[in-house]
Symmetry: C2
Subunit: 232 residues, 2 copies
């Protein structure tokens, strides 16, 4: 009997694990180019079709990047690369799961905003104010949403934790917010949102972490409460 092949799971799953192991084990560095699909397949003793499925899987996970005509490369393995799939969670979650997601966002975003209050620099603060102003200068819901997202993104970015920023980016994905906020905003919540944003902004200017935490938690909590009440 040949013991060289453990034979657990499908060949594609094995290939995925082996490539992941190569990267985790250090034989493949971030940014490095992999052998060709054909070579990799021969190397692991599987067909090119199965190897392509493995590569595709690692591509959607943000671990690999395939460039047509050039080759397959390991991504930089930055937080943004690996956490891009987090948006899928937000897009496909429903019902009670959405509330839980918002609760996670409230916890992380309030902490991030508190950190930002302590660390934010003048240029970063200027960017925050820019989006705040742009939000109030238009009536187009689409544009408001864009600057709303950018407003929070700028704040979270100032907290200095890229991983946290990437997670929150997923939790605030465009389709997610559009889905939840459509109903929420229609209940005349614009004015309240404006006040909450202003309160967050004042805390940032004052470099007051506790006030920032409270303001951000209240802001996200408002939507959370509304969504919870909709589940009846």
């Amino acid at each position: 009997m040949e013991q060289t092949a453990p034979q657990k799971g499908t060949v594609t799953e094995r290939a995925i694990e082996q490539i992941k192991a190569m990267i985790g084990g250090g034989s493949l560095e971030p940014g490095e180019r992999l052998p060709t699909e054909r070579d990799l397949a021969a190397q692991l003793g599987i067909s090119r079709s199965s190897m392509r499925e493995a590569i595709r899987a690692l591509t959607v996970l943000g671990v690999l990047e395939a460039r047509h005509g050039s080759g397959i490369y390991v991504t930089q393995l930055e937080a943004g690369d690996l956490l891009e799939t987090f948006g899928v969670v937000a897009d496909l979650s429903r019902g009670p799961r959405l509330v839980e997601l918002l609760e996670v966002r409230r916890i992380l975003e309030s902490t991030a905003t508190a950190l930002a209050a302590a660390r934010i620099t003048r240029p970063q603060l200027a960017e925050v104010e820019e989006h705040l102003a742009a939000m109030e200068a238009t009536d187009d819901p689409e544009e408001i949403l864009s600057h709303d997202l950018a407003f929070h993104r700028a704040i979270v970015s100032a907290a200095g934790n890229e991983t946290m920023a990437a997670i929150l980016e997923g939790l605030s994905s465009r389709t997610f917010r559009a889905r939840v906020w459509r109903g929420y905003q229609e209940e005349g919540a614009f004015e309240r949102t404006r006040r909450e944003h202003a309160r967050i902004h004042r805390a940032l200017v004052a470099h007051d972490p506790e006030a920032a935490r409270a303001a951000a938690a209240a802001h996200v909590g408002e939507v959370e409460e509304w969504l919870r009440s909709q589940l009846d």
Copy 2:
């Protein structure tokens, strides 16, 4: 000109988006069975190979589940299904990224532990104590790690937010902890870990959320500090 085909990106990427849209749009319910690979391919006008890649991608994301000989099914789309891939992030992150990951875990786990202190039931508390006792009754590092994981999992579970639990599960994945803790535990941190666990336990028994939050934050923070000091 045929305008029926938008032609952006690869056909596989389009197929992934279309299937995701079907699920998000409600034409595919959780647990429902999809058409066969061959039918789906014909339906979207692509080859079976490309369709298989799309299905494989959605499978690793925890959205679909393929059962050999039976068919392809939509998962229940529970937090655990969709966030299983989160472990990959922890496994492949390195250097500064690891510290950021631990910071996120500290924030979430301290909050979860605080919630647990307020809500934990007697049976749940019993399970926590079981793992605590088992941890102190053995010298096998492997077994200690197992019960350590289960200890925290039981606590987080008592917080009542499955999504948060699934995220923390990923942040505490076996390979992740084994990697970080190997060096940490060798510095005689066993005794300190024991005291910290005991402190968390006392806070749970007393149903004291603030004490629980502080104890959990300190516990994770210890490892975080140590890892930060190793980056020199």
